[in-house]
């Protein structure tokens, strides 16, 4: 259910009497029902004489609907044990101490095992219930090996499993992988260095990454908004161990882990298309599944063509942006998914995209432009701290203006990340008692507590508030950004220059 696993016991009875047949009970859905054919064929192809007897499989507890193909292996093993082909160490008939083993995975017609989603959750459940051994498909076994105290056996095929239990050839359990080693350099699509020009935008993203601020980028087509966003994961700090486990859990449930993959090491970067449905974004379905915002947990949710998203979809983002979790309620039950992400939105300034473009004229009517900009919902914009214009880069100008001797090349992602990590450390220390990690999460209470402006900075902000007609909310946002800029500079208090710079990233009235 959602992100919590429930133990399902698979009982198999092969009756000597009665008409031959194969039945699965315990609210199986179609995929589970079909396990009959998969298991039968797999066993036959493995060389087992399939019993022509009445076989009943019960999935307990019988009142919870069962989905998916993960029960195949348990059913197959149950049949094998029932016909005496293998002897399970834990069978009560042996009289020995009860020993639970989990079997989990989808079986192919040839008797091989396939990559199955949710193995990480299975391992977590095993850990919780004190189950020491689990048998899972080899391709998914890495996921399980992350969990400590659980021996996971990677199974290639039913034949291998039979040999294992017959004592012919043991399958070697995977060693628990060293998590810290797994969290390595995350490779990213683009390095900051590769983005031409756009120093302003890069600086803004650095600040955003450092303070966990949400960002809105506005610019004409082809100005590099998408590229900038894709370069963002490269300057974000590494996933902490707990964070990695949280992310892996979500990815395991949704089947987003590549076959053979283990712990998710990269910070997620999700860029759903703007036609994504509300459920797709938030999470949902008759059996609730995590949506894009949960897949972006601890990472970046990039919404390109922000104004093209239907309003209802965007409005649904409000609560998760505020709380960092989303509760999906369906007939099947209510499920909480974590959804603590950094929102990066990008949009054109108008439908044709060329409003205020230096070369191309805009062909939109004023009403159209207004309508387009109105589509970006106010309450959502209210939760975005940093607003930047990403102008069109004229390549010619870039080339001209670089004096050959003193080319200041921009910093690589790695250098920027160094600064970001340092700034985050300062914040973590400061905000520890308030149970938040970044400046972006600060509420007014914390702003008052932690953001002390120097006298001239205070005066500057007042002047700016009058001149730019800052609302109370944007006023506090400027303070938040100033705090992050000060943290990046390693400064204790917020000074004049920090506020002056922050003002350039304020949210403009569209």
């Amino acid at each position: 259910m959602g992100l919590t696993a429930i133990e399902i016991e698979v009982e198999v009875n092969v009756a000597a009497k009665g008409f031959p047949g194969f039945h699965i009970v315990g609210l199986p859905t179609k995929a589970v029902e079909e396990a009959k054919e998969r298991v039968r064929t797999a066993l036959v192809n493995t060389g087992i004489d399939f019993p022509q007897k009445k076989i009943v499989v019960n999935l307990a507890p019988a009142d919870i609907p069962k989905e998916g193909s993960a029960y195949d292996l348990a059913i197959a093993v149950g049949i094998l044990a029932a016909i005496g082909k293998i002897v399970l160490p834990a069978s009560p008939s042996q009289g020995g101490p009860e020993k639970k083993i989990y079997f989990y995975g989808e079986v192919g017609l040839d008797g091989g095992l396939r990559h199955t989603r949710g193995v990480f959750l299975l391992a977590s459940l095993a850990h919780e219930k004190g189950v020491k051994e689990i048998f899972v498909p080899k391709l998914s076994a890495n996921e399980a090996s992350v969990v400590e105290g659980v021996k996971s056996y990677p199974v290639n095929s039913l034949r291998q499993l039979i040999r294992h239990f017959q004592g012919e050839k043991k399958i070697l359990a995977l060693k628990n992988l060293d998590k810290n080693r797994l969290i390595e350099e995350a490779e990213v699509d683009f390095d900051f260095k590769e983005v031409m020009g756009q120093e302003q935008a890069k600086r803004a993203l650095e600040i955003a990454a450092a303070g966990g601020h949400n960002v809105l980028m506005i610019g004409p087509p082809g100005s590099g908004k998408t590229m900038l966003a894709r370069a963002l994961p490269g300057i974000l700090p590494e996933l902490l161990e707990e964070e990695a486990l949280e992310v892996t859990k979500i990815y395991s449930v949704t089947g987003n882990i590549e076959p053979g993959g283990g712990l998710v090491r990269r910070r997620p970067f999700r860029s759903p298309h703007h036609t994504t449905s509300r459920m797709g974004l938030i999470g949902g379905g008759t059996k609730p599944m995590p949506g894009e915002i949960s897949l972006a947990h601890r990472g970046v949710l990039f919404l390109d063509e922000f104004a093209e998203y239907p309003r209802t979809t965007l409005e649904a983002l409000r609560q998760p942006l505020e709380d960092g979790v989303v509760t999906v309620v369906r007939v099947a039950g209510a499920v909480k998914f974590p959804a603590s992400f950094m929102l990066v939105a990008a949009s054109n300034p108008c439908p044709c995209g060329y409003l205020n473009h230096p070369k191309k004229p805009c062909i939109c009517l004023p009403g159209q432009v207004l309508n387009y900009q109105k589509r970006m919902s106010g309450p959502i914009l209210d939760r975005i701290d940093i607003h930047i214009n990403v102008p069109f880069v004229e390549v010619e100008k870039l080339k001209q203006s670089i004096p050959t001797s003193q080319v200041k090349s921009s910093d690589t992602s790695e250098v920027v990340r160094g600064r970001v990590v340092a700034a985050r450390k300062i914040q973590e220390k400061r905000l520890k008692n308030d149970h938040i990690f970044t400046n972006g999460e600060m509420r007014n209470k914390q702003i008052k507590k932690f953001c002390h402006l120097s006298e001239d900075a205070e005066r500057l902000l007042q002047t700016a508030a009058d001149k730019f007609q800052l609302s109370a909310r944007s006023y506090f946002r400027v303070i938040k950004i100033s705090r992050t800029i000060a943290d990046l500079a390693g400064a204790e208090g917020i000074g004049y220059n920090h506020v002056a710079e922050a003002l350039q990233y304020r949210v403009r009235n569209l």
Binding site: G197, N389, P391, L398
Partner: protein, 290 residues
Amino acid sequence: MREWKQWEIKQLECKDFPDGLKRVRPKVKQLFYRGEWDKDLFKKAVAVVGSRRITHYGRMVTEMMVRGLTEAGYMIVSGFMYGVDTQAHKTCLENKGKTVAVLGCGLDCLTPAENDGLYTKILESGGLVVSEFEPKQGAKLWTFPYRNRIVAGLSQAVLVVEAGENSGSLVTARWAFQQKKKVLAVPGMITASLSKGTNWLIRNGASLVTSTNDVLTTLGDINRVEPQVRFLRLSGEEKEVMELLKREEMEADELARKLNQPIAQINILLSKLCLKGLVEENNGRFMVGF
């Protein structure tokens, strides 16, 4: 919403028209209006018109000119459409002036719809909203150029701020020429599409104006606005930025490249200059303000 409906629609017959309007041909049969009619309103009136697609330049110029004119006691007449018209009305109201909007449709039809609030504000500030069309007459393509003769007729001079090659503002200018009114035009870059019309006007007899004083002088007004001299101390870096921006508007990135400074520093400088009112920003491009 639609609070202006509370104002009653009144009708003015030809004999009560201001003199300028009586002479307008084709003849204006009657004038519907909302607000308080005051004949003195039209003693000092200037029409400020221009393109619907306003640029930032047009916006700045409109603000500057209308502010100056309002301060000198002029009433602003315009056409209530979006772009320069709307900007002119708004700036006039911001400076506590009175303004008259000549609609291209009946008084009960709101075109454009986003000017709902402006309609009410004009009336609240003692201005007028007028139209020669029956209250329920909708906006048609032909109604706009047709009402332009009233815009010209109600004012002593027509100032065209920005106009494309086929702009309706040129129609207003033509009516003004016909009515022997003064036509003033603000020049622009010859490459700018929205200055083609104004530059063409200047070549064909409109007076070129570059400041409020030019307008006032042309109108024969002695009540000249003295330009305010601003004494501001700038640091060396701020001066450098100003020098570059005076030459050409540009983005923060370009400034950073040209001055070879980190972007954070440029942002600080720009914030300072913006707050001093020397620099203005428009969608990421910075320019020297008026």
